[in-house]
Symmetry: C2
Subunit: 148 residues, 2 copies
DNA sequence: AGACAATTATTGACAATGCAACTAATGAAT
DNA sequence: ATTCATTAGTTGCATTGTCAATAATTGTCT
């Protein structure tokens, strides 16, 4: 009879937290060194690159980035200053603004996606087979869905 | 034949990252409101509470917290000022210091563990059965091990 | 023993982020 | 149409964390 240590929700969460934190830091370093952008910037550019017309309202952006709106404002300020995105007033709601990926942003993103994709594969993907990767995806998704 | 969308390592990592980020923020809010400490403080106190003699060298602490040493110095400064931990010079290596859990820190930790444990159960554990929790633990551990 | 490299922790300067307060615009109710 | 609550975004201030440089101590090599 195999001896199995009891794994509590606390253990499970704790391991998820440390693993994700470590990897994130690693990915951030790679991106910074090879493309000159942080993982947070990457996240912004990625979402914009998939958004319709490569643009998102500040509000949506801040939600998907898990940042406060003010945090998003500051972040977009910096990336805009670097020329990778720009702002445009929203025609349909004059309170709002769009953050829009610039051509330069797209170019940076092409390089970054390659580098970062390889990095994820090397540090994360290569240690799990495809079923396991699916499991991680589905379990994490289930937790996320369970929290609204 | 069930149609399954292909899940890449990138999808899997992305979901893990957002789920963990969201939960962490939620946990942080709860701890802050109910015990008056952040999730980071909690992490420090937790590790100290399990460490031999409830003390750890700054170096070890910073590693397990995924923080730079200078970040750990600042963090320990603040928690020390709050009276939850204290510093003590290391006898065996006069360059070093221990961070040590105080009695007050232990008291705070007793309350925090209960609150935070419940929170983890409610937001994470309740959405996964015990096998799934074990899976998350083992998969995340495998990734962590694969990265040194 | 003496010289030099490596390690531990801290500090100053600065970057990033949250909170609360604010402005401008929208929408809903009368 | 006017009023009032709500929403989008930005800003000032405080907090938190990083990076590079520093001081003190230890270890190594001859």
């Amino acid at each position: 009879m195999p001896e199995k240590k009891k794994i509590t929700a606390i253990d499970s969460w704790g391991q998820a937290l440390t693993t994700v934190s470590r990897l994130l830091r690693k990915f951030d370093t790679t991106l910074q060194e090879s493309v000159g952008i942080s993982a947070v910037w990457y996240d912004v550019l990625l979402r914009l690159s998939y958004a319709p017309n490569r643009r998102m309202r500040m509000q949506n952006l801040s939600e998907s980035l898990i940042l406060t709106r003010s945090g998003a404002t500051r972040l977009v300020d910096r990336i805009e200053k670097a020329g990778l995105i720009c702002r445009e007033a929203a025609a349909e709601d004059r309170r709002g603004y769009y953050a829009i990926l610039t051509d330069e942003g797209r170019a940076v993103m092409r390089r970054a996606k390659k580098i970062h994709g390889d990095d994820i594969l090397a540090s994360f993907g290569s240690h799990l087979d495809s079923d396991e990767q699916r499991l991680v995806y589905e379990l994490m998704r289930k937790v996320a869905d369970g929290n609204g």
